[in-house]
Symmetry: C2
Subunit: 215 residues, 2 copies
DNA sequence: GGAATAGTGTCTGTTAGACACTATCTA
DNA sequence: TAGATAGTGTCTAACAGACACTATTCC
């Protein structure tokens, strides 16, 4: 299949997964501590080599399942990274996929090829990450921030039923700025409907629960 | 390098280029008529296999230069397509790049591996295109339509100096709907400045020439 | 002056931003 | 009733949409 003419040698293709969630009022990304070289002992995004008989989406889901229990989640293709020396071993082109999940849906476990798995606060990343993964995470961070403004991706971070104070908090975390309560509610109210239920038990007024409107 | 285990066989990687421009008040895409199998005689996007020692961007520019004179143009990565059988020969993953150019900057010539090169009206594509290129073009068409609303990509279709009536026409073509002249001007005026020149010679009021503001 | 296109003024309804207010829970 | 958080009413300025008007050119 390969020969000495570089025109006919194929680069390897990987998929790197970014699983984002919100925990402790912070945007976090699932990362794994590498067991093997290169970058042994460093944090990296979970990733897999793309098999010859699977699509990128299938590879992405396979990668996610190695460390988590996730299925039926929202994810989208982010960008394809191709710097020549992004992997010190050989030429590797990586397609990044981004998943957004509510914290309650996510449980994770250490995979075979990893030392540990953890949720890393995106605004407080370790100084050095494996490969070009810092760049990839920053790219994703930016995409999220932008899309929050003109799409409904923020809803992927909350469960089916949610309170408006919490949804607002999510928006504030993703946008990185405070919002006016009354204005936020006026804008968001058209996309949601009351479930009829409320939270209760705290020493203050309970908040109503909402779900997204189907329309 | 490769063996019988499919886990270690690499898919081939190509870059497909979409060069968009506006001609005769229509959005058009540069396409080539294929000389070789597969899909000989059919229209397809210009594309190249990615060399082991070049980035995707470098490959994209190389692909563009085979049929055009373009350099220093605007282009962005569009999406990576990975359907298993998108290429009947073998497994090929393709990264699509999209370039936007004013018609005056573009000249093109038939490359070595192609029968002819032409600008195809995007709203009136041939019934069948090679590979999954129809899907790719439609994806790009959508991206352009969306980004016109919240970015300044429309400016890439006009030359450095332009009239407001023409710029409005470009917006209308990209959005696929008519705009009110007064409202369009009010919105766009903050991003541009007069050159001091005007068009002239027609049997009507000449229009002022503008350029983009740097700020 | 007439045909044609360039360019402006303005009214209206909607929305973003800011802020002050009222409501409901538990201890 | 105090403390805490949920939720509402409203003013203002900015903006989008719609439309009617004026301006400049060449014949």
């Amino acid at each position: 299949m390969s020969n000495n003419n570089h025109e006919y040698e194929n680069p390897a293709v990987t998929v790197d997964m970014l699983v984002f969630t919100i925990e402790d009022e912070q945007l976090k990304c699932l990362m794994v501590k590498r067991k093997e070289e290169p970058y042994a002992g460093m944090w990296s995004l979970p990733g897999v080599f793309v098999h010859i008989d699977e699509t990128l989406e299938e590879a992405a889901l396979r990668g996610i399942r190695e460390e988590t229990n996730l299925s039926g989640i929202y994810f989208e293709q982010l960008y394809t990274f191709s710097d020549i020396h992004r992997d010190p071993r050989k030429r590797v082109i990586s397609v990044a996929y981004m998943a957004l999940v509510p914290r309650e849906k996510l449980t994770f476990c250490t995979g075979e090829r990893t030392e540990s798995v953890s949720l890393i606060h995106v605004n407080n990343l370790p100084e050095k990450l494996a490969f070009d993964h810092k760049k990839i995470i920053e790219y994703a961070r930016n995409r999220i921030k932008n899309k929050v403004e003109y799409t409904d991706i923020a809803f992927h971070f909350v469960s089916e039923e949610f309170t408006l104070p919490y949804l607002q908090k999510v928006y504030e975390i993703l946008l990185g700025k405070a919002l006016y309560k009354a204005n936020f509610r006026k804008k968001i109210i058209t996309y949601i409907e009351e479930t009829g239920e409320s939270t209760a038990g705290d020493a203050h007024r309970p908040s109503k629960l909402y779900r997204r409107k189907k329309s």
